[in-house]
Symmetry: C2
Subunit: 267 residues, 2 copies
């Protein structure tokens, strides 16, 4: 294990971890910052599609992470610093005491991802989701219900943003995805690939229970508030979730979870 002690916040070896919040806003070319033990375990797990490039730990966290670090590449730098130095590098008090620098997977194109899906498949297409909590929740639920891929249109925020990864409990790191899509083109590509494309929208008359069975299902989710654009819904089968009537309001991630639970393969 390549343990390197860091004594000063301006040590150039930890430059990638510096001023995290400011650099969250600009993004990191091909890389991302993950935080906390649960996410680090996902990052180094066999199911991860990402690779760890380095970790930076508070001194008191090193002992508890031996099993995780044993799964990491032996040459990977494990920077260890006193809490105050760690906070100085990050630019805020990092109470979790665990940061990892990861490398994103190669960018995937929609036709390639669709071509690689099994005959029975479940995917999510998220459109215009600009909230990192909701993007993280969508990935968490996609992983929980075994969705084969998550597709994001170009109005969605970056799923590799630190908070989105954290809210996803690391699911962002393991779930096949395509980002930056044109929503209309994605819907048409899904239909051409034999998917029943279901636009989740509160106004739909067809409810989940009444959706005809299909081997390939795509669940399309839009932003809370505006919802999916009418012209996109018109290209899909609109589907609603039966609610009580007096208070028809669900978080978008929650609505997606209910749909994914409904359509998940009975293993």
């Amino acid at each position: 294990m390549n343990i390197i002690r860091i004594e000063a916040p301006d040590d150039p070896r930890t430059a990638a971890f510096r001023d995290i919040r400011e650099r969250d806003l600009t993004g990191r070319e091909g890389q991302f910052i993950a935080e906390g033990e649960v996410v680090l375990r996902q990052l180094v797990s066999a199911a991860s599609r990402c690779r760890p490039a380095a970790v930076l730990l508070a001194e008191n966290r090193l002992g508890g992470l031996a099993d995780v670090l044993a799964l990491s590449p032996p040459a990977m730098p494990v920077y260890v610093a006193p809490q105050a130095v760690l906070d100085g590098i990050a630019g805020f008090h990092l109470h979790r005491g665990i940061l990892a620098l990861g490398r994103k997977p190669d960018v995937a194109a929609l036709p390639d991802v669709l071509a690689g899906l099994p005959r029975t498949a479940l995917v999510v297409l998220a459109c215009g989701i600009g909230n990192h909590d909701n993007i993280g929740g969508i990935f968490r639920n996609a992983a929980a219900f075994g969705a084969d891929a998550v597709l994001l249109d170009r109005q969605c925020c970056d799923p590799f943003y630190r908070k989105a990864i954290r809210v996803s409990v690391g699911a962002v790191l393991r779930t096949p995805m395509v980002v930056g899509l044109d929503a209309t083109a994605a819907v048409e590509a899904l239909k051409a690939a034999g998917f029943a494309v279901l636009a989740m929208t509160p106004s739909a008359e067809l409810t989940l229970d009444a959706v005809p069975p299909a081997a390939r299902i795509a669940v399309v989710l839009g932003a809370e508030g505006p919802g999916l654009p009418a012209d996109l819904i018109a290209r899909c089968t609109p589907v609603g979730i039966r609610m009580s009537g007096g208070f028809d309001s669900l978080n978008v991630g929650t609505a997606g979870a209910i749909a994914l639970h409904h359509f998940a393969r009975r293993a």
Copy 2:
């Protein structure tokens, strides 16, 4: 309409709105602060169990709220202030520009609430939920699926905390609730009232689809991470949500939503 112009942040008439964040931490005896238009609309709606005591608005929000204010008690003070004065009162930049002071409903006792439930009933019992986002999400989902009441044990955080109300989209203000319960006593009271008491827990062998029908259903939710205590689960019927197997992780509010959707009355 009782519109009162406020020109200075230290105007004593707006004392109840002062230093909101600090006072969030101590609670407000019998009162709460709500923020934003969506929550204000819930507060003054016919379904609300709470009453508005006063509102404080940024000048530019007054025009758009005429219909909401018309539903409020005519004598209720409508304080209107320039944005800078509003920010000075609240102690932070209040970009929503809308605050309301509300009165909580009378405290309810569990036997009274149970005695008032219909023969076919759906309730949530939340145990040890210390996260305001999760409490808010549980109330939002309870309202969406027409749950008759939400019961909180004494380890849950305050549902009238400002952020919990906001995340609930105002559902906290309309949903019958009992707070401060002993979880074990609440489970036993539910059983005595003829409820099938279902402890949602990932380890359960019985999944939602296999739960026998019952007229009265109580969904018991525990905190993410620790989950429900084993001795409490032993008093209930443990129920799980079928997941993909590789990533068995759902947010507690999301798990509750899936269960409530499953058990909600087919209207």
